[in-house]
Symmetry: C2
Subunit: 339 residues, 2 copies
């Protein structure tokens, strides 16, 4: 049976070329996939030329939310935007997932408004998979929530643990709280209070971790607020880039060193690609009633294709169902979300 | 005229061997320096053997603050600790600076209590110099204050700008506020409010910067709270290390690649050393009435030597006097500190 994904065809810096091209690529790669291209038919149809595969349909949406537009404003006034229509398709059961590289604030706000939250979650969060020395770890929240309370971070921890178990296949994920010292007493007020909640959470909580531990792979789930998480991700991207440049400057002197550098640069580039998971395949928004994959605003066709593949994977693996079931079994969490 | 520095000889993971050795090395390198070795004479004297230079004196302090001891507890009860006695020497004018690799919370608390704050500053902050693609930038606060208010971040910005001008010789330092989007409306509540204050500050404020901009060198002063700053620094250290390991894993296959890697590794190692400024020379605590250099707990003799050199440099350059004078000329800042 086909899995149909609603793709916000107008969202992202390189839309609609990248979204249309990405959809066509995905349809070739994933036989089970169907794609609703949501957007302005007069813009989308010409890009398809005569290449209209069987499992691709244009769903009309008159309006486009600009990348720098106010999310709440867009939610209130643009009722026929490509973002809004994509979520409507998901809500009404026509589509089984949404992929968007558009205005991420508007995507978040619309997802919350149209789909609602699953039981036990007061704030949906973005989960990003990071490469580590030992494998992979999930960082949650990576940017959806800038101001958080302790019970929000507790919910992120539960969602991250389910994600780690279901998607990364870690049987009993180790959960760490990002802070500035390993002792439980260290950190800001938010972290100190969260530490207490996590200690009593029943999760495999190993305590505070420091910035230097993120890539060491000693924990499977890194819990932080979206402000800190987003800064960490972007810092990592930027540092890998800066290191490449610094190395290039240093190694300009020797011919042998230059050859060496060309190898090192390849490794750094691959790291950069691995780190920018949104660019590769989109990051899921966990905690809303639906599969939502948020892609990088800079997504090219390849990234859109990967995001559609991720959406398909999430639907097939029943991540949403598992998350909803697991969280509903935690009465204390459900209680905390009612605060 | 000699500059005498009070060295907390009992502070740090490798004290007192590293502190004594570091002091001896510094005295050889810096002819203008004098060092008070503050600590337990029965422990320190044997380490000196017969090598007691003219400008080295042991100043007795009976107690030692453990690395994991409560800072406030230590401040209240250990009145004859090596940390407390070091600051007493500075306060009474016997010494002109303090260097400590000891319990940094206790060093902060004692500095505040004994020396007090300079006019216009409600929260002293740690300034760390980072290498960038274009040169250097100062990150403030790097870990002294985990929970901040907007006017604290404003004060950090002023102190960072003075530091950049006086120490890094940047004529009109560009100040950036670390956030998760470049637009002024993006960020958490703290950052949004601080953005408003910085816009009206009279500083060369360029707006929000993102994590990826830190190492690009587009700003000279990076303003953030100490929780975020500390995580960024430690993440950078850890990522450089992880990249080295990941590269080593990737490049194991080819002989040529291995040669290349040995060059790349050298560059990464140098970056790591540049980044961990505390390890190299200690980071200054700005905003207290005295020159205070905080060294890494893991400081070895070389790091202690460098920290003593940094202290000497700060005294000679009259950083404290310039900072006090510049900040006192900002009535709005002085006002904000009275809140």
């Amino acid at each position: 049976m086909a899995v149909w994904v609603a793709l916000d065809a107008m969202g992202g810096d390189f839309a609609p070329q990248a979204t249309v091209e990405g959809a066509l690529m995905a349809l070739k790669s994933f036989p089970e996939l169907g794609v609703y291209l949501v957007g302005q038919p007069e813009v989308l149809a010409p890009l398809l030329k005569r290449r209209v595969p069987k499992k691709l349909e244009i769903v009309p949406a008159k309006e486009v939310v600009a990348m720098d537009e106010s999310p709440i404003g867009a939610l209130r006034t643009k009722l026929d935007s490509s973002i809004r229509r994509s979520f409507d398709l998901l809500k009404e059961g026509t589509a089984q997932a949404v992929v968007s590289a558009g205005n991420s604030g508007a995507v978040l706000a619309t997802a919350l408004f149209v789909l609602g939250r699953i039981k036990g979650v007061s704030r949906p969060a973005i989960a990003t998979v990071l490469p580590t020395i030992r494998g992979q770890a999930v960082m949650i929240d990576s940017g959806a929530n800038v101001d958080c309370k302790p019970h929000h971070l507790l919910q992120f921890a539960y969602m991250g643990a389910v994600f780690s178990r279901e998607i990364l296949r870690v049987p009993s994920p180790k959960v760490g709280l990002l802070s500035i010292g390993e002792e439980g007493g260290k950190g800001n007020t938010l972290v100190k209070r969260t530490h207490q909640l996590l200690t009593e959470s029943g999760l495999n909580y190993v305590g505070n971790i420091e910035g230097r531990d993120i890539y060491r792979g000693e924990v499977d789930v890194i819990v932080c607020d979206g402000f800190v998480g987003n800064i960490c991700l972007k810092l990592s991207e930027g540092l890998a880039e800066a290191l490449m440049l610094m190395m290039a400057q240093e190694l300009r002197s020797s011919r042998l060193a230059q050859i060496g550098f060309s190898f090192a640069r390849g490794a750094l580039k691959r790291f950069q690609q691995r780190i920018d998971w949104r660019e590769r395949g989109g990051a899921p928004l966990l905690g809303v009633k639906g599969v939502v994959i948020i892609s990088h605003g800079r997504s090219d066709a390849q990234a859109i294709k990967n995001a559609l593949g991720t959406a398909l994977f999430f639907v097939k693996e029943e991540v949403l169902e598992n998350l909803s079931r697991d969280l509903a079994e935690l009465p204390s969490l459900v209680q905390s979300a009612q605060r």
